[in-house]
Structure formats: C-alpha cells, structure tokens
Symmetry: D2
Amino acid sequence: MASDENVRVVLIGGSGYTGFEAIRYLVRHPNAELVGVFGPESELGPMEDFYPQLTKMCGLRQELFEAQKLAALRADLAMLCVPHKVAMSYVPALLEANLRVIDLSADYRLKDPAVYEQWYCPHTDPEHLSEAVYGLPEYYAEEIRAARLVANPGCYPTCAVLALAPIVKAGLIEPAGIVANAISGVSGAGRAPSAKTHFPERNENFEPYGVGSHRHMPEMEQVLTALTGRDVELLFQPHLCPMDRGMLCTIYATPTREATTQQLTETLQAAYADAPFVRVRTDVLPATKHVAYTNFCDVAARAAKGRVVLFSALDNLLKGASGQAVQNMNVMFGLDERAGLY
Amino acid sequence: MASDENVRVVLIGGSGYTGFEAIRYLVRHPNAELVGVFGPESELGPMEDFYPQLTKMCGLRQELFEAQKLAALRADLAMLCVPHKVAMSYVPALLEANLRVIDLSADYRLKDPAVYEQWYCPHTDPEHLSEAVYGLPEYYAEEIRAARLVANPGCYPTCAVLALAPIVKAGLIEPAGIVANAISGVSGAGRAPSAKTHFPERNENFEPYGVGSHRHMPEMEQVLTALTGRDVELLFQPHLCPMDRGMLCTIYATPTREATTQQLTETLQAAYADAPFVRVRTDVLPATKHVAYTNFCDVAARAAKGRVVLFSALDNLLKGASGQAVQNMNVMFGLDERAGLY
Amino acid sequence: MASDENVRVVLIGGSGYTGFEAIRYLVRHPNAELVGVFGPESELGPMEDFYPQLTKMCGLRQELFEAQKLAALRADLAMLCVPHKVAMSYVPALLEANLRVIDLSADYRLKDPAVYEQWYCPHTDPEHLSEAVYGLPEYYAEEIRAARLVANPGCYPTCAVLALAPIVKAGLIEPAGIVANAISGVSGAGRAPSAKTHFPERNENFEPYGVGSHRHMPEMEQVLTALTGRDVELLFQPHLCPMDRGMLCTIYATPTREATTQQLTETLQAAYADAPFVRVRTDVLPATKHVAYTNFCDVAARAAKGRVVLFSALDNLLKGASGQAVQNMNVMFGLDERAGLY
Amino acid sequence: MASDENVRVVLIGGSGYTGFEAIRYLVRHPNAELVGVFGPESELGPMEDFYPQLTKMCGLRQELFEAQKLAALRADLAMLCVPHKVAMSYVPALLEANLRVIDLSADYRLKDPAVYEQWYCPHTDPEHLSEAVYGLPEYYAEEIRAARLVANPGCYPTCAVLALAPIVKAGLIEPAGIVANAISGVSGAGRAPSAKTHFPERNENFEPYGVGSHRHMPEMEQVLTALTGRDVELLFQPHLCPMDRGMLCTIYATPTREATTQQLTETLQAAYADAPFVRVRTDVLPATKHVAYTNFCDVAARAAKGRVVLFSALDNLLKGASGQAVQNMNVMFGLDERAGLY
C-alpha cells in the first residue's frame, strides 16, 4: 500500500450486525475504502436491501465470494464478519491471496486447538492458529502492527479483560476465584430471530443464561493468564438485558492486600493513560449509555467491604466487535489509532 | 349450569398470548373454572412448560382435542384462542357438543362470507356465521346473553369503535372520510418469532405497516355501519410501537356542524355512563399505560382546528382480546360483568 | 373483626407507587375493604387524580390524616406506604387507635436502633422497634399472625433472602464472603422525577450504583443471620436496569463441601414446598418477566466452576413491596395466604 | 476564512441534548473546529462533567459568555443550542461581532412577529427577523449559503415538510385539510426531568399531547405555504413514543385527482434525487430505526382508499436539530454538504 492510498478492504458477511457496523465505519473512514462485500449464495444483493440504513451510504452489493475476484479489487485487508467455523473456511484462501485478515469470529482466539474444540467444534485450520494475534490493541499493538491474521476478541472478554488485566498484573487481587457478572444488550445475540429474542419475550425482561458454560469464559482466562503471567481462574455469568446495545461487567475479586479505591484507580489510570479508547472513571461509574454507539470502554475500580469491585462498559457491537476491528485495522496499517472511530 | 356452580370452561389454544391471558383470568375468576386446555399435537404438555408464569397458578396440561372428551369435563363454554381458519374448524363440533363458544379469531366477525373471503380465506363454516353475535358487550349485551356463538372483536376494531360509535350515531361527524391512525404494542403480532419482531429490530423503532390493507379495516366499517345506521367509510393505518402492551387510536373526522369538545365529551359520557370498562377522559388524554394489564378502554374527544379528534386506548391482549372474552363470558352466563376483571 | 366481615384497611400514602399497587390489590381483594386513604396536606384529592388507572376502580379521596378519623372508619389495619422517617411518625398513633400496622418503609426492619441510625436517621419510635415482626411470611408466618406491627421487608432483601436462607441454613455455603449482585427496574426508584430517572438518560442504559453503600445490605445480613444462626456477611451490589418492573439477584457463594446442582435445588424445594409464592426453578432460570405483575418469587441454584450460584427474581413493587404487604395482611387476619394475590 | 482553514465554531448552550449532539458532530468534523462552548453562570465547567460521553473526545469547558471573548477565538460561526427567548438575547451581539449564526431555537423561524408572539412570547429582536433564512437546505441552499443568520427548523416541521412539500407543490393534494399525525422519541422533550419524562411513567407508554396547540403547527403551515405558493392548512397531532430517538409523521391528505402510489413516489424521487440526506422509500416504509443516529430523512408516499398517505422519519436530535445545523454550516461555508455527517 502506498502511503498516500487508502487501505482497501473487503468484508465477508455483510448481512449480520457486526458486518453492518463495520460497513458503517468503513464507508466514512478517512483512510480506508470498502471495495467489496461477500456473502453466501442465499444472501446476495444490494447491501441496502439487507440494511435500509445504508441507502445513499453504501452502494455495494453483497457478491458471492470467489478467491479470484480479490486480485482485481486490489484489496489489502479482509474483515471476516461470519460465525465461527465459517470464518476458518475462508482464512487460508485469503492469506494465500496475500490479504491481511481480521477475523471477528472466535476461530483464532483460543491458542490451544484442544481448548477450542472443547468449547466450539473441530478446528479446520490449525496451521494458522499459532500466527494469529489476539486483537486487543491496548495490549498487543506491536504484534498487531506486524500481523497477517488478527483474531478480534469476543465482546465479553474485551470488557472483562480491560478492567482486570492491570489489576491482576499489579498483584492487587488474587488471580483465582474471580467472578465476572455481565450483562449484554440483545444485539449481542445476532440477527437471527428466535423465541429468546422475540420482542414481547425479551422486552421488560432481565434474565441470566449460560451458567458456567459460556464460551467466552475460557477466552478470558487464556488472555488474562497470558497478559499477567498469573494463572487466572474466573467464573463468568452473563445475563440478557432489555436494550439494543451495551455491555457491562461487574467483577468481584479478593484483594491480596489492603487496596484502596485510589490505588486501584491509579493502577487503571497508569495502564490506560495513552489508550485512546479506554476511559478510567472516578466519580461517575461506567454506564452503558456513556459508551453506546462509540468505540470506548469505560472502566472503574472500588474497594468495598473487603473486596475489589471492578466495572467495565462498552458497546458490544463496536468496541466489542466491529469498532475494535477498525481499531485493529488502524494499527495494522500504521494509521492514527482513532481514525474513523471518534 | 346450576346457579350456584361455576362456569366450566375449556380453552383451545393455550400456547399463544391470548390463550395465556385468558388462562390467567380464568384461574382467578370467582365464578368460573378452567377445566381443560386443548392444543395441536405438536404442542402438548403442562401449561407451565409453555408459560413458566403459570407454575403454582395452573396445573393443567394442554391435551390433544377430541370432541368426546368434552362430555366428561361437563364444560359449559369453549374459548377459542387459535388463529383464524383454525377456529372455524372447531366450532361445529363444539356447538354440536352443546357448548357455548367464544371465538377470539376473526372467523365469525364479518357477516358477509364474501367479505371474509376477500380479506382472509375460504369460509368453511358459513352455516354458523349468521347466528354469531359480535362480542362487543357495550353494544350487544342482550344478544351476547342469548348467544351460542360469540365472535370476539379484533383489538383495533374494539379500540376504534368504542370511540367512534357514539359520535357517528349522534350525527356529529361525517360517516365517510374518517381516518383511524393506530399504534399497537408488539404482543399484538403474536408469539411466533420473525425478523419484524426480533428485539434489536423492533426496540427503539416505530414503524407503519399494512397501508390500506389491514384486515381490521372492513371489520371496523361493518360494525360501525351496523351500529349507527350510517354508511361508515374509513381509512385505517396501523403502526408498531416498541412496547409490550397497549393500543392507541387517534381518529380524525370532519364535523357535520360546529361541535365543541364539551358536546363531544358529553356524547361519550352519555354512551358509557353505565359501561364498567369504558372511561371517558376529559383533562387527561388516554394513554396506553393507564389501561395496560386491565380490561379498560379509555376514550376522549376534542374539537381542534375544524376537525374532530378522538382518542382511544386499551390493552391489545385484554380489552382487545382475552379480557373482552371473559367480559363476554360474564354477560353470557349472567354474572357480574366485572367479575374476575377488576 | 367478626369472621364474616372483610378486613377494613386504611392506607397512608396513596400517591407513590407502593401505595398505588396496594390500592389495586385491595380494591379487588375478596376479603378486604379499603375504607380510607390518607396523605400529606400537599397531596389531597381523588385517588384517580393521582392515578388515572383508578377511575372506575377506586372512588376514594386521599384525605388529610387525623387519628380521630380512624374510629369512624372502624379500620382493622393500616398500611403505611410512606418513606422511612415519615412512617415512624404515624405508628404510635395508629397502634394507640388499636389498629394493626403493616409498615412498608424501613423504619422497623433493623432490630438494632444503632444500626438503623448508622444507615438511615435518628429513630423516633424505638419503643415499638422490638415488637415489630419482620414480614417475610415464608419464615415468620406465626409471628406475623400475632403481630400488631409488621415491618414489610425491602425489595432487595426479600429477593436475596428467599434464595439464600435455605442454602445457608443447610450449611451448603460459607456464610461469609457472599456476593449479591442485583438489578432492579426503575420503578424501584420511586415516583419523584430526577436526572437519574429521566427517560432519555435511563432508557437503553444499564448502570451500577451504591457500591458498598446500599441500605438494604445490613438488612440482608441481619435477617439471614437471624434466620440461619450463622454470621452472614455479604457484599450487595445493585444496578439500574431499563425496564419498569422486576428485580433479579445473582448470588455467588463458596460451597462448604462439594454440592451439586441437584442437592442445592432439592434444598430449595424442601424449603418452599408449601410456600404459595415461591417457585423453585430447575430447567428454566428465573427471569423478571416470569414474575412481573405477580407476587411470586422464582429461585434457582446451580453449582458451577467450584462456586454456588443462586438466582432469584421478583416484582420489586409486588412481592418486593405491596404484594408482600397484602400477603402479610392475609396471614395476620387468618385469610387464605393467596387471597387477592393470584 | 482562508480556504485551507477549518470553520471555527463557538457553541452556546452545551448542556442540553442538541448542544451535546452538535459537539459530537463538530469534534469529528473534518473541516470544522469547535473553539469554545458558552453557557449560563449556573452551568459552567468541563463539558465531560455534563456528558461523560465526551471524555477523551472534547476537552473544552463551558465558559460564561462574554462578547469580547469572541475576537480572541477568531470564531466564524456561532451555534445557538439554547431555548427560544434565550436565543434572541444573544443574536444581536453575535452578529455585531461579525459571526454568522445558526439558531436552533424557534426565535427566527416564524417570519411574522405577530404569529411568533401568539405562539411563543414577545419578540425582542424583530430587527433581524427579516434577514433570517429558514435552514432547510433541501429548499433554501442558496439563501443559506449567503446568510448571516440561519433559523434551524423545528424537528416536526422538518419531518412533515420534507414529505409534503413536493406533493403539495405538484398539486397532487388539496393544500387544506391535511392531517399530520406524528410521534417523537422522548429526547425531544429535552433534558430537564419532569413527571411526564419520568422513566416509569414514560416507558411502555404511548400518549398524545398538545391537541391543536403545538407550536410547530404554524411553522409547518408558514413554510409549506411559502414553499408551494398554496395556502396550506393542516392539523398537527403529536404523540410521545417510548424510545430515545426518532420521529415519524404519518400524513393524510385528499388527492386533487386520481394519483397513484407510483406518481406520488416519482414526485418525491424527482424532488430529492440530488439531496444527500433525503431518501425516498418504495417497498420498505420509513421506520425510525433506519434514520436513528443519522442525518437522514426517509420519506414515502402511498395512495390508499381514496386518500394520499405520506410517511416521513428522521432522528429528532439530528436531522431534526443538530445534524441539520451542521448541514447548514456545511452549506454556509461552501463545504461538502455531507462533510462530517455520513
């Protein structure tokens, strides 16, 4: 890519919510250009047919993917906005075609294929697993800059890890016995209708799910352990909250020694002083409305009744998915990390 | 039915929203007993499996319907909470078994089978069409008391007719050229998930539908014409509103002569002085929250800029469906019209 | 009260949400009669002016309270739906007038006046503190039956205690180190508008508050300690959820020994087999929609990743306030515990 | 302003919703710079204290307005995000200081001061009323380009006028007897808490207000009459809808002659072929979710039952206020009309 040129991006999977949000960012990005959108045979056609929001914003059609089309598009980067299992079916061909890849699915997040297979399904591309970089730019910017393949983190792991990592790293809490209680807006469940997401069932309803069984739990443990050098063990408990957008983690941990709210807060502030998208809150607690429709993650820490309580909020589709993907793109291509995201 | 006995009710179609609401009313009704629930083969089992809300409230199972089961249940009344077309497949057998019937579907609302067939589908039980009584107790109480078969009105027609009938009848507005603008909560769309009712599509979204094509339009015209002796012609335009429950009509009409807000209001007050479930509002306008989870319909009238504007609000599942069905039952069996409904 | 007569109830504080809900229950209660509503000088007038929902349901006016009016009303019971501090200003006069009292405020919940004063304000009626019975009928039915003064529990304590008490009592979890993470619908904040409850700030927003400082925390600890004979210590963390009604606690505890989900569940089932308003869930987890607009509390237990996780859901205004008050009334006056509440 | 420089903007009234939205647009605008924010003495301080959303986005403080501060800021433009009456108290000083002005209040929208005073209050700056240009760029771009003072339209008028103007102009409907039924999200009520906007009163509630008395009605009539040369007379009826953002008008009119949906649609398409922010819908009807958080207005037309029905949707705070203000700024300063808005 010549320095005066835009990053040329193809997106695979334009009909789901993360694809849609990625497209919205890309069409207004000052240094990137969306040059193609690909999808499965059953979902081809003008993007505005899938999302009337895109009329007069994006004139592209979702086309059937064929690897040989990529050369003509002179694409630099592919964003994969498809479910796990589907994503890894595309990656080898994309890398082969000399594209760099940001995968928003879970396929390259878990380093150990055995762990992946325990929580997901057989891994069909173990070859590229080891080179994949975990796309959390606050911690892996250098690796992301050099990466061919970036595994964009899960929404819940992004939220929990940004709050926990500095505190665990500083040795302020026990790395085991952590509880991550979390809530998500319903867009996190994707675009396919179901009884669980039927409006009259979901509206005015708050409900736990996935007790001890959510796939983001091993991802959190792996990443926190890798980042902190401590053997992190946590229980993650998600809940569905009757709203569109937003995620909030309330994390409970045991302090290793008497830690004050001020010490905890300063630890977070030191960690994120230069992070453009993490804001450490003091008086005001994180709230989903402060981050909805943005790429920010707000974090805060409190000492209370002998425990450490951490709060973390983000937009599950943006900093939790497509916004973070664009942030990763910015890092990969040497752009201002904030380009197109403020 | 001996006068000291409860009305024994069987309900057909317990898994949808109107079935559920009817069951909630019936299990706490002081003069009725729900003795059986029937459904299709694919949906049998304990009612609490369909609706966890019913645990410790209703111990019945949804059983497969067989006409010969009715005798043993000594049922007096069947409530049909199934879709149109399905309802009329049950009615002949129920009447044959000497049950009285309240049908919550559209199958017996339109008097003219040709009109029914234009808007719905071929009518398979035209024989009982003529004897069916339109179940709007504020206007047809006497006929309902004597009826074997009651056609429970549609939600939108109940809402629009209760506001319009007295005003048209009094000759205060032109019977043609009426516009009924309406909104409904999403429970009105039923319990089957779809893209239209997927929470992230529906929440924070207000949207019109069915321009000139909603099936409740001919029902409104038929009932208003029958009730007022004038040839009522109206345009009905519904919208989906992001909430569970509630319906509100805003109706625009041309006054026949200078009519004041006071005259209009007094006309409504005279019409509903003895109606236990219609409340005429003066200072406070009808709002869906005032009627949600109740069997009330609130109405109001205003003269404004040379037009007459009427407002009407009810709970689409209660006064708009299951509550009205229970009110009809009360009338049919000589009970206090309010029994079990306040 | 003669056995064939209704319980005659006066309600103090009809303009707030708990007063309104109590009135709705009382006007349709088969064995009780609301004979008077009292309020402060600034809020007198027809109840329907405060709540248009009450038109044609309750014709009473909110009158200025004067103790001498009580005799003429031949009231048996006073329900206090006023804030803490205000409630204890009424109690002595009510008891003096030979009424039994159910106080929905916090004024008589904390047994130790020093604890009350630490969390609330100076106590002006310590004399009656010791005789007040904590109105959780699942545990104190016998005492409630005989009580003159019942302290109706807080919403969060009702929710947390119903899930925790049997498990702590059975010695299945450590009594210290418990975390009670909770969410509430916004009606829990009362009827006075504020920036926090302004619709555009609250809607689509999920937010923690009161870290380590919520007044319901000492109430939970006191009640659980009293009920179980163990020294219960917990951290309570509430959150505001964008919905009207409902409360859900997700409780994390350390098992004392290997306890399975089945053992935990059976412990709950044994505790609540005869409780008409507590439902133990197995396959389906508690969800606020299952209990909204009812007096039920749904509980469930799971063993997960070496912890015990408990869930508990109720309607904050009903089982969490006015419904529980009516349940207490039923117990106090020897009525069916479910009367008027199903 | 040199052609290579950004437009330098001061904003007056940063603490309300329109101020906040304008700031969000301005801080990311590629050709504009927000150089100062001014407010009343009671509301000074860092913008992030008013809106935590602005942390790491806008480091400005809201300062006390003093005209002499403007020179040092070298501001080109003032945006007034204050209520009517307050706005006109600033305008003379701003014009005097050689700034161009976009006023988001109603103070300069109504051309006839007598009409203004009938609906609002005495006009204190009639001198500048005649030079003010109505800031609807789809119709007044040329005048806006040259204007010193732009009166940014009301939200409801923008919505109704964009749908109606081409159809009235083309003579397809009668200019009198139009009904504009409209709904708005609650953010339209501003940021001050009240009983009407208290979450538990507003949520799950749909309610009409302002029958025949909303101040946007004369604005609609004035603008449509001016734009079409016909004497437009309409009844405007607004409703509050339980959602944050979005506005939808459903407009009923009498056709002058048989007009088909296709003719109506083509009339709209011809009018807005080159308008970057108006989208004419055909198969899909306008819905608030399609325009929320954007500067688009979606319109559609249908012939139904002898009437013409028009639909129009926009985001009340963006195309209905702050987005339109930025669009006006773009036009005034010769920028791409879409700059910073896509």
